[in-house]
Symmetry: C2
Subunit: 144 residues, 2 copies
Protein backbone atom coordinates (compact mmCIF):
# COMPACT_ATOMS: atom_id res chain seq x y z
CA UNK A 1 0.00 0.00 0.00
CA UNK A 2 2.34 2.71 1.25
CA UNK A 3 6.13 2.54 1.03
CA UNK A 4 8.19 1.91 4.15
CA UNK A 5 9.37 5.51 3.96
CA UNK A 6 5.78 6.67 4.03
CA UNK A 7 4.84 4.42 6.94
CA UNK A 8 7.84 5.72 8.87
CA UNK A 9 6.87 9.29 8.00
CA UNK A 10 3.35 8.84 9.35
CA UNK A 11 4.57 7.24 12.56
CA UNK A 12 7.25 9.88 13.05
CA UNK A 13 4.75 12.70 12.60
CA UNK A 14 2.33 11.21 15.07
CA UNK A 15 5.19 10.76 17.53
CA UNK A 16 6.42 14.33 17.11
CA UNK A 17 2.87 15.55 17.62
CA UNK A 18 2.72 13.68 20.94
CA UNK A 19 6.05 14.69 22.32
CA UNK A 20 6.63 18.22 21.16
CA UNK A 21 5.22 21.69 21.30
CA UNK A 22 6.49 25.19 20.61
CA UNK A 23 8.87 24.95 23.55
CA UNK A 24 9.90 21.31 23.44
CA UNK A 25 11.46 19.56 20.45
CA UNK A 26 12.17 15.90 19.81
CA UNK A 27 15.44 14.55 18.46
CA UNK A 28 15.89 11.89 15.81
CA UNK A 29 17.13 9.31 18.32
CA UNK A 30 14.01 9.63 20.43
CA UNK A 31 11.75 9.53 17.37
CA UNK A 32 13.48 6.43 16.03
CA UNK A 33 13.22 4.68 19.38
CA UNK A 34 9.64 5.75 19.97
CA UNK A 35 8.45 4.57 16.56
CA UNK A 36 10.66 1.51 16.08
CA UNK A 37 12.21 2.84 12.89
CA UNK A 38 15.87 2.79 11.73
CA UNK A 39 17.45 5.96 13.07
CA UNK A 40 19.41 7.12 10.02
CA UNK A 41 16.61 6.22 7.67
CA UNK A 42 13.93 8.09 9.56
CA UNK A 43 16.36 11.02 9.80
CA UNK A 44 16.43 11.17 5.99
CA UNK A 45 12.66 11.07 5.83
CA UNK A 46 12.40 13.83 8.41
CA UNK A 47 14.68 15.97 6.22
CA UNK A 48 12.20 15.52 3.41
CA UNK A 49 9.21 16.29 5.64
CA UNK A 50 11.04 19.32 6.98
CA UNK A 51 11.92 20.58 3.50
CA UNK A 52 8.26 20.29 2.55
CA UNK A 53 7.27 22.03 5.78
CA UNK A 54 5.21 19.16 7.15
CA UNK A 55 7.35 19.32 10.27
CA UNK A 56 9.52 22.11 11.61
CA UNK A 57 13.07 21.74 12.87
CA UNK A 58 15.76 23.55 14.76
CA UNK A 59 19.44 22.71 14.82
CA UNK A 60 21.75 22.94 17.78
CA UNK A 61 21.37 22.20 21.50
CA UNK A 62 17.74 21.80 22.56
CA UNK A 63 16.94 21.61 18.85
CA UNK A 64 14.95 18.87 17.18
CA UNK A 65 11.66 18.45 15.38
CA UNK A 66 8.34 20.00 16.37
CA UNK A 67 4.98 21.07 15.02
CA UNK A 68 2.63 24.04 15.44
CA UNK A 69 -1.10 23.98 14.87
CA UNK A 70 -0.50 24.46 11.18
CA UNK A 71 1.61 21.32 10.84
CA UNK A 72 -0.67 19.43 13.22
CA UNK A 73 -3.52 19.95 10.82
CA UNK A 74 -1.78 17.85 8.13
CA UNK A 75 -3.73 14.82 6.99
CA UNK A 76 -2.37 11.35 6.30
CA UNK A 77 -2.98 12.17 2.68
CA UNK A 78 -0.64 15.16 2.88
CA UNK A 79 2.12 12.88 4.16
CA UNK A 80 1.45 10.22 1.55
CA UNK A 81 1.52 12.74 -1.27
CA UNK A 82 4.77 14.24 0.07
CA UNK A 83 6.56 10.91 0.32
CA UNK A 84 4.94 8.49 -2.15
CA UNK A 85 3.46 10.96 -4.62
CA UNK A 86 -0.05 10.88 -5.98
CA UNK A 87 -0.04 7.40 -7.48
CA UNK A 88 -2.76 6.29 -5.12
CA UNK A 89 -4.95 9.05 -6.51
CA UNK A 90 -4.43 8.42 -10.20
CA UNK A 91 -3.10 4.93 -10.86
CA UNK A 92 -5.31 2.08 -12.06
CA UNK A 93 -5.60 -0.66 -9.46
CA UNK A 94 -4.75 -3.32 -12.07
CA UNK A 95 -1.85 -1.24 -13.38
CA UNK A 96 -3.32 -0.40 -16.78
CA UNK A 97 -1.80 2.75 -18.18
CA UNK A 98 -4.87 4.18 -19.87
CA UNK A 99 -7.65 3.06 -17.54
CA UNK A 100 -10.29 5.77 -17.12
CA UNK A 101 -14.02 6.33 -16.99
CA UNK A 102 -14.18 6.11 -20.77
CA UNK A 103 -11.77 3.22 -21.04
CA UNK A 104 -12.30 1.34 -17.80
CA UNK A 105 -10.47 -1.74 -16.60
CA UNK A 106 -12.67 -4.64 -15.50
CA UNK A 107 -12.91 -3.44 -11.90
CA UNK A 108 -12.73 0.30 -12.52
CA UNK A 109 -16.32 1.20 -11.64
CA UNK A 110 -16.31 -0.89 -8.49
CA UNK A 111 -12.96 0.49 -7.43
CA UNK A 112 -14.04 4.11 -7.85
CA UNK A 113 -16.31 3.80 -4.85
CA UNK A 114 -13.78 1.98 -2.69
CA UNK A 115 -11.06 4.45 -3.59
CA UNK A 116 -13.35 7.33 -2.73
CA UNK A 117 -13.80 5.96 0.77
CA UNK A 118 -10.13 5.23 1.17
CA UNK A 119 -9.06 8.68 0.03
CA UNK A 120 -11.67 10.23 2.28
CA UNK A 121 -10.19 8.28 5.16
CA UNK A 122 -6.65 9.52 4.60
CA UNK A 123 -7.83 13.06 3.91
CA UNK A 124 -10.04 13.51 6.95
CA UNK A 125 -7.71 11.93 9.48
CA UNK A 126 -5.35 14.63 10.68
CA UNK A 127 -2.38 14.42 12.97
CA UNK A 128 -3.98 16.65 15.58
CA UNK A 129 -6.96 14.32 15.85
CA UNK A 130 -4.59 11.41 16.40
CA UNK A 131 -2.89 13.36 19.15
CA UNK A 132 -6.20 14.15 20.82
CA UNK A 133 -7.55 10.63 20.52
CA UNK A 134 -4.31 9.12 21.71
CA UNK A 135 -4.28 11.37 24.76
CA UNK A 136 -7.81 10.28 25.55
CA UNK A 137 -6.64 6.67 25.32
CA UNK A 138 -8.81 5.73 22.37
CA UNK A 139 -5.89 4.35 20.40
CA UNK A 140 -2.41 2.94 20.79
CA UNK A 141 0.50 3.84 18.61
CA UNK A 142 3.50 2.14 20.08
CA UNK A 143 2.54 -1.48 19.64
CA UNK A 144 5.43 -3.05 17.89
Amino acid sequence: MFSKSCEYAIKAMIFIAQKSDDQKRVGVKEIAKGTATPEHFVAKILQELSKKRLVLSMKGPSGGFYMTNKELSSSISDIVKAIDGDGIYKDCVLGLKLCSEKNPCPVHHQYVEIKKNFLSMIETNTIIEFKDKLEKGFFYLKNE
Copy 2:
Protein backbone atom coordinates in the same frame (compact mmCIF):
# COMPACT_ATOMS: atom_id res chain seq x y z
CA MET B 1 -0.97 -1.56 -4.17
CA PHE B 2 0.01 -4.71 -6.07
CA SER B 3 3.54 -5.47 -7.22
CA LYS B 4 4.40 -5.20 -10.91
CA SER B 5 4.66 -9.00 -11.00
CA CYS B 6 1.13 -9.25 -9.71
CA GLU B 7 -0.23 -6.73 -12.19
CA TYR B 8 1.44 -8.62 -15.02
CA ALA B 9 0.03 -11.90 -13.68
CA ILE B 10 -3.51 -10.55 -13.68
CA LYS B 11 -3.18 -9.14 -17.19
CA ALA B 12 -1.58 -12.34 -18.49
CA MET B 13 -4.34 -14.49 -17.03
CA ILE B 14 -7.07 -12.36 -18.54
CA PHE B 15 -5.27 -12.51 -21.87
CA ILE B 16 -4.86 -16.28 -21.75
CA ALA B 17 -8.54 -16.60 -20.87
CA GLN B 18 -9.41 -14.61 -24.00
CA LYS B 19 -7.15 -16.34 -26.44
CA SER B 20 -7.06 -19.95 -25.38
CA ASP B 21 -9.26 -22.95 -24.84
CA ASP B 22 -8.76 -26.67 -24.46
CA GLN B 23 -7.58 -26.90 -28.06
CA LYS B 24 -5.71 -23.65 -28.51
CA ARG B 25 -2.81 -22.45 -26.40
CA VAL B 26 -1.04 -19.09 -26.25
CA GLY B 27 2.71 -18.65 -26.22
CA VAL B 28 4.73 -16.29 -24.04
CA LYS B 29 5.55 -13.99 -26.96
CA GLU B 30 1.91 -13.44 -27.80
CA ILE B 31 1.02 -12.93 -24.14
CA ALA B 32 3.80 -10.39 -23.67
CA LYS B 33 2.80 -8.50 -26.77
CA GLY B 34 -0.91 -8.64 -26.00
CA THR B 35 -0.48 -7.38 -22.45
CA ALA B 36 2.41 -4.95 -22.95
CA THR B 37 4.64 -6.74 -20.46
CA PRO B 38 8.37 -7.60 -20.71
CA GLU B 39 8.55 -11.01 -22.35
CA HIS B 40 11.13 -12.76 -20.17
CA PHE B 41 9.70 -11.29 -17.02
CA VAL B 42 6.15 -12.37 -17.71
CA ALA B 43 7.53 -15.78 -18.66
CA LYS B 44 8.93 -16.08 -15.15
CA ILE B 45 5.63 -15.10 -13.64
CA LEU B 46 3.80 -17.62 -15.82
CA GLN B 47 6.12 -20.33 -14.50
CA GLU B 48 4.99 -19.43 -11.00
CA LEU B 49 1.32 -19.34 -11.96
CA SER B 50 1.76 -22.68 -13.71
CA LYS B 51 3.50 -24.26 -10.72
CA LYS B 52 0.62 -23.11 -8.54
CA ARG B 53 -1.87 -24.43 -11.10
CA LEU B 54 -3.54 -21.09 -11.77
CA VAL B 55 -2.78 -21.64 -15.45
CA LEU B 56 -1.98 -24.83 -17.33
CA SER B 57 0.86 -25.27 -19.78
CA MET B 58 2.17 -27.62 -22.44
CA LYS B 59 5.67 -27.68 -23.83
CA GLY B 60 6.62 -28.34 -27.44
CA PRO B 61 5.08 -27.39 -30.77
CA SER B 62 1.53 -26.10 -30.49
CA GLY B 63 2.19 -25.84 -26.77
CA GLY B 64 1.67 -22.76 -24.65
CA PHE B 65 -0.53 -21.61 -21.79
CA TYR B 66 -4.25 -22.29 -21.44
CA MET B 67 -7.05 -22.56 -18.93
CA THR B 68 -10.03 -24.85 -18.32
CA ASN B 69 -13.19 -23.91 -16.47
CA LYS B 70 -11.43 -24.69 -13.21
CA GLU B 71 -8.66 -22.16 -13.83
CA LEU B 72 -11.09 -19.67 -15.33
CA SER B 73 -12.91 -19.58 -12.02
CA SER B 74 -9.87 -18.08 -10.25
CA SER B 75 -10.48 -14.70 -8.64
CA ILE B 76 -8.17 -11.71 -8.66
CA SER B 77 -7.62 -12.50 -5.01
CA ASP B 78 -6.30 -15.98 -5.93
CA ILE B 79 -3.74 -14.38 -8.22
CA VAL B 80 -2.76 -11.75 -5.67
CA LYS B 81 -2.29 -14.35 -2.95
CA ALA B 82 -0.20 -16.52 -5.29
CA ILE B 83 2.14 -13.70 -6.32
CA ASP B 84 2.15 -11.08 -3.56
CA GLY B 85 1.12 -13.23 -0.62
CA ASP B 86 -1.55 -12.35 1.90
CA GLY B 87 -0.14 -9.05 3.14
CA ILE B 88 -3.17 -7.21 1.87
CA TYR B 89 -5.31 -9.41 4.09
CA LYS B 90 -3.38 -9.09 7.30
CA ASP B 91 -1.08 -6.07 7.29
CA CYS B 92 -1.93 -2.83 9.08
CA VAL B 93 -2.45 0.00 6.62
CA LEU B 94 -0.10 2.25 8.61
CA GLY B 95 2.48 -0.53 8.89
CA LEU B 96 2.15 -1.16 12.63
CA LYS B 97 3.25 -4.65 13.53
CA LEU B 98 0.74 -5.37 16.25
CA CYS B 99 -2.32 -3.49 15.04
CA SER B 100 -5.53 -5.42 15.73
CA GLU B 101 -9.10 -5.06 16.97
CA LYS B 102 -7.81 -5.00 20.54
CA ASN B 103 -4.83 -2.81 19.79
CA PRO B 104 -6.01 -0.71 16.88
CA CYS B 105 -4.04 1.89 14.96
CA PRO B 106 -5.72 5.29 14.61
CA VAL B 107 -7.52 4.36 11.40
CA HIS B 108 -8.05 0.67 12.08
CA HIS B 109 -11.80 0.72 12.58
CA GLN B 110 -12.42 2.89 9.54
CA TYR B 111 -10.11 0.79 7.41
CA VAL B 112 -11.82 -2.48 8.36
CA GLU B 113 -14.87 -1.47 6.37
CA ILE B 114 -12.92 -0.22 3.36
CA LYS B 115 -10.75 -3.33 3.33
CA LYS B 116 -13.84 -5.51 3.50
CA ASN B 117 -15.17 -3.92 0.33
CA PHE B 118 -11.82 -4.10 -1.40
CA LEU B 119 -11.29 -7.75 -0.56
CA SER B 120 -14.83 -8.51 -1.64
CA MET B 121 -14.04 -6.86 -4.96
CA ILE B 122 -10.97 -8.95 -5.64
CA GLU B 123 -12.65 -12.12 -4.40
CA THR B 124 -15.83 -11.89 -6.42
CA ASN B 125 -14.26 -10.82 -9.71
CA THR B 126 -13.23 -13.99 -11.51
CA ILE B 127 -11.30 -14.40 -14.72
CA ILE B 128 -14.24 -16.05 -16.48
CA GLU B 129 -16.45 -13.03 -15.78
CA PHE B 130 -13.79 -10.78 -17.29
CA LYS B 131 -13.73 -12.98 -20.35
CA ASP B 132 -17.50 -12.88 -20.69
CA LYS B 133 -17.75 -9.16 -20.10
CA LEU B 134 -14.90 -8.43 -22.45
CA GLU B 135 -16.51 -10.49 -25.18
CA LYS B 136 -19.72 -8.53 -24.68
CA GLY B 137 -17.71 -5.33 -25.09
CA PHE B 138 -18.35 -4.02 -21.58
CA PHE B 139 -14.66 -3.52 -20.87
CA TYR B 140 -11.32 -2.95 -22.53
CA LEU B 141 -8.10 -4.62 -21.49
CA LYS B 142 -5.49 -3.65 -24.02
CA ASN B 143 -5.36 0.08 -23.48
CA GLU B 144 -1.74 0.84 -22.98
